[in-house]
Structures are given as structure tokens and as C-alpha cells.
Amino acid sequence: MKLIDIRDKTAIVGVGNTPFRALYRKKDPRRNSYTLGLEAFESALEDSGLCKEDIDGVIINRIPSYTKMCVMAGIKNPRLTNIFEAAGRMSGIALQYAAMAVYTGMANVVACIYGNDGWSAGATYGGESQMIDSYNFPFGMTSPGASLALMWQRHMHEYGTSEDDLGVLAISQRKFASMNPNAVMRTPLTMDQYMSARYICYPLRIYDYCLINDGGVCLIVTTAQRAKECKKRPVYIMGTSQAANHTPYYHSPDYGWDAMKLVADQVYSMAGVGPKDIDCAQIYDNFLPTVMLSLEGYGFCPKGESGRWIRGGRIEPGGELPVNTSGGHCSESYMQGWALHAEAVRQLRGECGDRQVNDCEIVQYICSSPICSSHILRR
């Protein structure tokens, strides 16, 4: 079998999510990933026009137990059940597995359900709540953000990029968020505000870090054939790819580009398009340097050029390549890639209101992390 045989053969037919902004304003220790996932599932099911009995595959992420989740959703005998570890890299991977399952017939309709109660539960993503790391903790080294800070410092040294390049990106994403009623952070940001913000781990500031907030997202995946019977216009998976970057640390001297190249080569050849054909990109922004390294790693611009390339409105509303049109993880919601997928689908359906990208036909999702993944989706 050739990968291009799978092009356009699977589709996302339902997306759903909880409110993000409202939940952020009201912390609630009783809130949990199951109820958040359930709410998103109900919403995605409604969006797809399918009924619960059509779902015969369930993949969950960041929700601890598939049994409990399926009991709550009343899905008793799915033909496919799985759980992916609670890491953001897994959203793209989950969609890819769902697509493989429906393409092969191992399931007909897969619900991918995600729930995140990190805000109410007080998640910190670093420090002594994590398992002891003998080669890092004694020096005070912790958190993936610090690894991105190391990579960005090196990138600035090697290529002459700068701290305010990240400010350009932060401001652009916030512009999109200001047009997104569900975004957690909607107040426009200026370069002065960005530059005077406190450092979390120099050279990264608070605006370079993803939010921590509660929410749930669900995607429903089926075959292209079945998709035609669903309520809304299907969003086809043209290409999908992953390649890992397994190294001793979260940072790596090649910036993760070796893995990104493998992913890019496969996803573009499978989809039969290239970076120039992408109408908007949803790029995993756990920390803003990840977006810059991705733009370079996928060939949107040459290595070292992202700082210059994103200027002049290119990635902003109305630009040549709008990036993170919901506001992304730093301004809309930290749903570990899941909400970026939902945004990709809604952009392709033309459901994004003020922030809608004109004539949006092809969207790319990119996540660069210890497992890099990418999809190219079309309407």
C-alpha cells in the first residue's frame, strides 16, 4: 500500500469543545477531565449529526480511564479503545491513529476525546511535582519551557534572531484571540507590554508560555465515504505524518529539525501539496520558539529566517500565512493541540466569524516536540 492511497480517504466530521474563557474565569476544584471530555463529546456528536450508537472507536487523552469515560458516555462495546499519555504531542498522533483505524475498517467512527482540568487542579509543569531527574534537577533545570529557552538562546546566537521576534508572534496570536469570543486572553498586546513582561526563563517571557486553563475537545473521525452522510461539510485528511525526536533532553542541538524534515517530507508528498499551498497553519505553541523552529523546519522560510519572515503582517489576520488563527495555546486555550485541530476544521468549514481566513481550502497542523507530527486537511 502506498501512503498516497490514503489521501482524502478519511475525514473529520465532528468537532466539539467546552467553553474556555468562562471556565478560566471560574476555577472549580470539582471540575475534572471526564466531565470536560463528556461535554466536548456531546457537542461533537451534535456537530456531526451522528448518534452515539454510530461510535465504535474511542481514543482518550489526558483523561485517566477509558472505562470510566466510556461508561459516562454510554459507549459499552466499542471495537477500538485506547488511551494516549497526557502529553500535547499526542493530539496529532491520536487523530492519525483514528484515521488509520477507520481506513482499515478496524472501526467505522472514532471519537477522540480530550479533557484537561490542569487549571483547577493546579498543574505546574515543572519543579518538584515531577519525578526526580538526577542530571537536571540538582542544577535547578526543569520544565520544557526552559529547554525551549535554551534552544531560542542558541538560535539567537547562531542566526541573529531576537527576543522581540517572539513578541511579533505573541502580538499576532493575540490579535486573532481578540476576534475569538472563546479565547481566554483577548486584550490586544503591544510590543512595549511584551518587552516589559516578566521573564519566566530568560530569554523567554510570560507571553512566550502557553496558558494553563480547563477545557475539553472532541474530534469525530470516519471514512470519506461515510463523511458524506454527516451533517456538515467533511474535512478530509490529505496527509498525515509523524517522526520522533528521542534525545536525552527536551532540547536538542538540531532544534528537532531532523525529525521535522522526515515529517514534512511525508506529509507534503502524501498530501501532494507544499508549504506555498497552505492557507493557514495551526502550529503547536507550547512555547513560542516552537512555532519559529517549526516555520523553519517545515520550509515555510529558510533556517534562521523566521524572525524576519513573520514580520510585516505575514502571519497576521489577512496575511499570506495566518498562523494560530484562534490565538493558539498562548492566547486562546491550552488544549495541547486539540483546540488547534478544532480550529483547523472550523476554518475549513468557514465557521470562524471575524477571524475567518478568506477562501480557506487547505490547513496544516504542525506539532514539533519529542514526537513531531503534522496533518494537512482540506475542505
Binding site: G126, F137, Q153, Y199, C201, P253
Partner: protein, 141 residues
Amino acid sequence: MTQYTKPLPIPNDFDRPYWTALKKHELRMQKCLDCGEIWFPPNPVCPKCLSHNHQWIKLSGKGKVWSWVLFHQLYFPSFSEETPYNVIAVKLDEGPLMTSNMVECNNEDIYCDMLVEVFFDDVTELITLPKFRPAGRPKEV
């Protein structure tokens, strides 16, 4: 001596020689006797050829700052007094990349590709941490 409150390593069966060598003020890492690979962090087998034959060789202790950061966020309360504190990623002359702190140098004076040499910091009676200082300074007394 005041109580040391920062996080400490927990030596395990296969990295104990690393910590034992540090105690003697030697930076030792594993070198594969079959393919010559030198690796870090410690690993039970050679990650390049999976050979079980390795030797804990003594390294020069010299390297370059691949990159560096300053922690402003207080993830470890025990670091509060020196926040913001530096963390460096050192590319050793022998190849491996390791995490450490720069000592005997102001944070403002650290830069990428700076030449450094190991400095053994006896933080407790049992544990010595490999830190780094600018290369070429007079040896510790």
C-alpha cells in the same frame, strides 16, 4: 555546615560509578569498547551499538557552553536566594551534552560557545556536582 536543601541526585545501579567518580573530583563517562561511542546520561548499554562492554573513562572536563538560560520562575523553593540563577547546557570536548550551572562568573558574562572547564562542587558529604567555570582561570587551591 548548613543543611543543603536543593534537589539531589538519586544514584542508581548503573550510574553509581558516575557519582562515585565525581566524589573523587573526576568527571567520568561511559565509553564503548566496541565502537568508541562516549555517551551521557549513563546507560546500561551503548546506545549506538548496544554493546555491554564499556569503560568509565576520565574526561578532560573541558567544553563549550552550547546554550544558557536564567531561571526567574521559582520552580524549586530551595533556589529562591539566588534567583535568577543560570542553567547551562555544556557540549563537552568528548561529545556529550550535559546540564549544569556556571560558577565564578556573573550571569551577564555568560555567552554561547564560551569555553568552560569542570568545577567540582561538594554540595554534601556524599554528593559532588559537576559545575563549570570559565576556562583558563588559575586552578582551585
